[in-house]
Amino acid sequence: MDIFLIFISAAIINNFVLAYFLGICPFLGVSNRIDSAFSMGMAVTFVMAITGPATYLINHYILIKFGVEYLEYVSFIIVIAALVQLVEMFIRKVSPPLYRAMGIYLPLITTNCAILGLALFTALRPYNFVQSVVFALGSGAGFTLALIIMAGMREDLDFADVPGPLKGAA
């Protein structure tokens, strides 16, 4: 499967947020300003780039090898939680200002459906390792794109006259 095609299809045609409805919670919560949307998008892409291939490896070299595919969900979510924790600690050490800037978003990413969704989709598809990395990057890019588009619209909507009940959650 063409690498370029995998990237484009994950980012645009089969956009995680707009086509698969993954990652809606942060989508609705963080998309009111473009810069926070961008930060969240970058954080998610970064985590995806690590967890996608990681879960690929776990799936192929442990789950399938030992015939315990039914432990997929449990093992994936543990890996994701652990990786997010590690990423958080890593960023804290390496760049405290960066950590402060996106600090709150990081733990939220663990429960982001998009991450687990990425892991599950990667397991479903006949990609090899390199393709799974590209798929992860493409999905992250698509997520960021959707968030930014939404943030752009919401920033504009702030100035519009929207009827009370349609302003969002109570």
Partner: protein, 214 residues
């Protein structure tokens, strides 16, 4: 004393249906709400699965709430939830394979359904088993209610059927957009708008602790 407790339990259940409806008020559990509501049956199936997992995890978390160290609580809760989701998934694959196929990857995504982790963290980890059961049932019912509403609108307008049965006849031009992602967003938006309008009078200060407090 017993009567008072029963009232409170009943209230725990009811609040999930309206005042603190996880979908319409707190915008939790959006992923499945949008994804599987293209037909009422799918919405019902997803709702039932979530009620099952929510109930089991609320009970489990409530039982172990005093032994789990604070720092690892999220990890432990999440393992619990993933376990029950796997059980639900295996059960569906064995007994209702068509439903399993229709719901597809959204069954394992119940693991990261904000509602379940949100309730575990905000409620079950601080409450008795009994109250957790009722809270779980209420929130699950509220969620299922939201799914049914959305599913009904989308199925009738998008496919002209209800539960698979033709009810609108050939003269009605199907709004195909309703069964596509765009229709899901639109319908949800309108429903939230209606919900806000109807609940303008009742202002509630309770927080249900969504994803944001995790």
């Amino acid at each position: 004393m017993a009567a008072l407790k029963n009232n409170n339990l009943w209230e725990e259940f009811l609040k999930g249906l309206w005042e603190q409806n996880p979908v319409f008020k707190f915008l939790l559990g959006m992923c499945p709400t949008l994804a599987v509501t293209n037909s009422v049956i799918n919405g019902l199936a997803m709702g039932s699965a979530v009620v099952f997992v929510l109930l089991c995890s609320n009970v489990a978390v409530s039982i172990i709430r005093k032994i789990v160290p604070h720092q690892v609580r999220i990890a432990v809760f999440v393992v619990c939830i993933a376990t029950f989701v796997t059980v639900a998934d295996l059960f569906l694959k064995a007994k209702f394979p068509d439903v399993s196929k229709a719901l597809g990857p959204y069954v394992p995504l119940i693991v990261v359904n904000c509602i379940i982790l949100g309730r575990a963290e905000a409620f079950a980890s601080k409450s008795s088993v009994r109250r957790s059961i009722f809270d779980g049932l209420g929130m699950g019912a509220g969620f299922t209610l939201a799914l049914l509403l959305l599913g009904t609108v989308r199925e009738i307008l998008g496919s002209g059927t209800l539960l698979g049965i033709e009810i609108l006849g050939g003269y009605f031009e199907r709004w195909v957009i309703m069964v596509l992602p765009a229709g899901a967003f639109l319908t949800l938006g309108v429903l939230i708008g209606i919900f806000n309008l109807l609940s303008k009078g009742k202002k509630t200060q309770d927080s249900a602790g969504g994803c944001h407090t995790v």
